[in-house]
Subunit: 184 residues, 2 copies
Amino acid sequence: MSSTRSKILDTAEEMVRAGGYNGFSFREIATLIGIKSASVHHHFPTKEALMLEVARRYHENFFAALGVPKPARHSPEVQLELYCEVFKKAFQSSERACLCGVLTNEAEQLPDSVREVVIEFVQANIAWLEQALEKSPNDLNAVKRAELVYSALEGAMGVASLKQDQLWIDRVSEAVCLTTLSLI
Amino acid sequence: MSSTRSKILDTAEEMVRAGGYNGFSFREIATLIGIKSASVHHHFPTKEALMLEVARRYHENFFAALGVPKPARHSPEVQLELYCEVFKKAFQSSERACLCGVLTNEAEQLPDSVREVVIEFVQANIAWLEQALEKSPNDLNAVKRAELVYSALEGAMGVASLKQDQLWIDRVSEAVCLTTLSLI
DNA sequence: TAAAACCTACCTATCAGAAGGTAGACTGGG
DNA sequence: CCCAGTCTACCTTCTGATAGGTAGGTTTTA
């Protein structure tokens, strides 16, 4: 409940989403929240530990917003729209790309533990989408559809943050909803 | 001509694709090609100048592989498959994500000049796809289709490099070709 | 044609600043 | 008193960048 601790996590998340793992420093976080870098080390001993907790928290929040897929209760259309909504909200919260999307594009230089968390995020997304879309009538199997949807939204979020244009996500979301579920 | 110069560009490109703009240094490039960092500065005075030339070269090579879209001569299907092929080849060349895709996810911390080159790359891709797809029968307009295709392939390339799995691009390419052109 | 001037590509040495991280001391509330 | 939270002070390593020098080739000019 230490408010400093969550301020550190908030600031770190924003900075990673702005410039990646190599784009933030203990000193800068400290300055932004008005403490010294040694105090940040008190809460998170290493950069890897801090990054790890930021990534885990992001994962949790993301899937909390998403909920459990309910293929029995909601149509694929409805669930796909919900999925797109969560990406839109994630973007709106800071006008920046997905934390794990950013980390994905630095994978090779990431500490192993962080890369694993990112991979888990991807797999959790695919699993969610597979369940949500499995009943849609389509000659593409659920895995391929899921991977397309996830790739498209991550890509769209990156471009939206590059161009500072929320409409990119809106248009790609619309296109993804229309095309993904429209095959015979 | 100067082989050192192109070695620097090659090495820098690989390092950026591995870890972004903040993921490479003059010293590391120099060490990898067997010279001193001051000699890298002789060829490229600043990091921004080096990054700029790497990005411009990548843009050129990418569109050289793509060629000019020929909507009169080739069907949208054929051209979309060609487009996916170029992404596949770009991945295969180093098992890494698209240079501009990586830079997209660091946009905020990039020098302005570099960010502009990245934005131009995105716009050139959309323009190419719009031309290639404009004749496809579809109730989605060409812009939305183009943005979906580009977002999906950039996203897929990121995940493919994260998971070191070329099949991600193959599957997303297949899905994108099937769904994008299949509406009434 | 020979000397002077210049250019290219590298080098050594160095800088100031920022990075991640550590040790030890201070402070205020339970 | 204890201890979480913060501080000062510092270390080492790396960063982008600069100054100045050297060897060798080319170009200009007297």
